[in-house]
């Protein structure tokens, strides 16, 4: 099963003050906060980790049919960032979700997650300016934020 999440970096900058007192503590583990504080592009790391959690959560909530707002329980692991790509894992209780993230300059961060690693390669991603009428294309996972619409197909 796949899940995806897009963060419009311009929108995120407008909507969220991640430096607000308490903000990071509610969303990120101590290790994740260390990654953020030690990154020269701290805001980008915030949204990279956030999109990993959101993409993994989308799968988990469909699997369990449970909706919870528990960002701290979604734990990012083994993150490797290389230029404009990142891979990692998100642990949620006894589940592991594999992630592949694309960083598109200052525009957006998009993460695809799956509980089966080969699906990350098999999935097709389509990112466009937001528009309606995409439902008929039957995407497996949909993410909309700010200017962007990201569709993931298997």
């Amino acid at each position: 099963m796949i899940g995806n999440d897009i963060v419009d970096l311009v929108q995120a900058d407008k909507d969220s003050n991640w430096q607000r007192k308490g903000f990071l503590d509610k969303l990120f583990t101590a290790e994740e906060q260390f990654l953020i504080s030690s990154d020269i592009q701290a805001p980008l790391m915030v949204w990279l980790l956030w999109s990993m959690k959101e993409a993994a959560y989308k799968i988990n909530s469909r699997q369990t049919k449970l909706r919870l707002f528990a960002p701290i329980k979604l734990i990012c692991n083994n993150l490797i960032v290389l230029n404009d790509k990142a891979t990692g894992q998100v642990f949620y209780e006894d589940q592991v979700y594999f992630t592949a993230t694309e960083i598109h300059g200052q525009d957006y961060v998009h993460t695809l997650a799956s509980d089966q690693k080969p699906e990350l390669e098999a999935a097709r991603i389509s990112i466009m300016n937001f528009q309606t009428g995409y439902r008929t294309t039957n995407p497996e996972s949909v993410s909309h934020h700010g200017r962007y619409l990201a569709l993931a197909y298997l």
Binding site: D15, K21, E54, F69, A70, I72, K73
Partner: protein, 83 residues
Amino acid sequence: MEKEEIISRLKPIISTYVEDKNTLEQLNEATDFIKDLKINSANLVDIVLDVEEAFGIEIDNLSMERMLTVGAAIEIIQTKMEG
């Protein structure tokens, strides 16, 4: 604190993070922050932080997990203020 008073104090907090203000007209206990008000999940944390400040309470992670509706928020506020 009565539910009505909590709702009236919650409304301006929630409103900050809602793009389509029309959705706030029907605000009630069943209102879902994400599904009904289209609040993005990162801003849900801002609501939690604003509520903590406004009501002088601390919302632990376990309570935050459930805080997806106005009704759940009211219940959490009431419990924390009694405690």
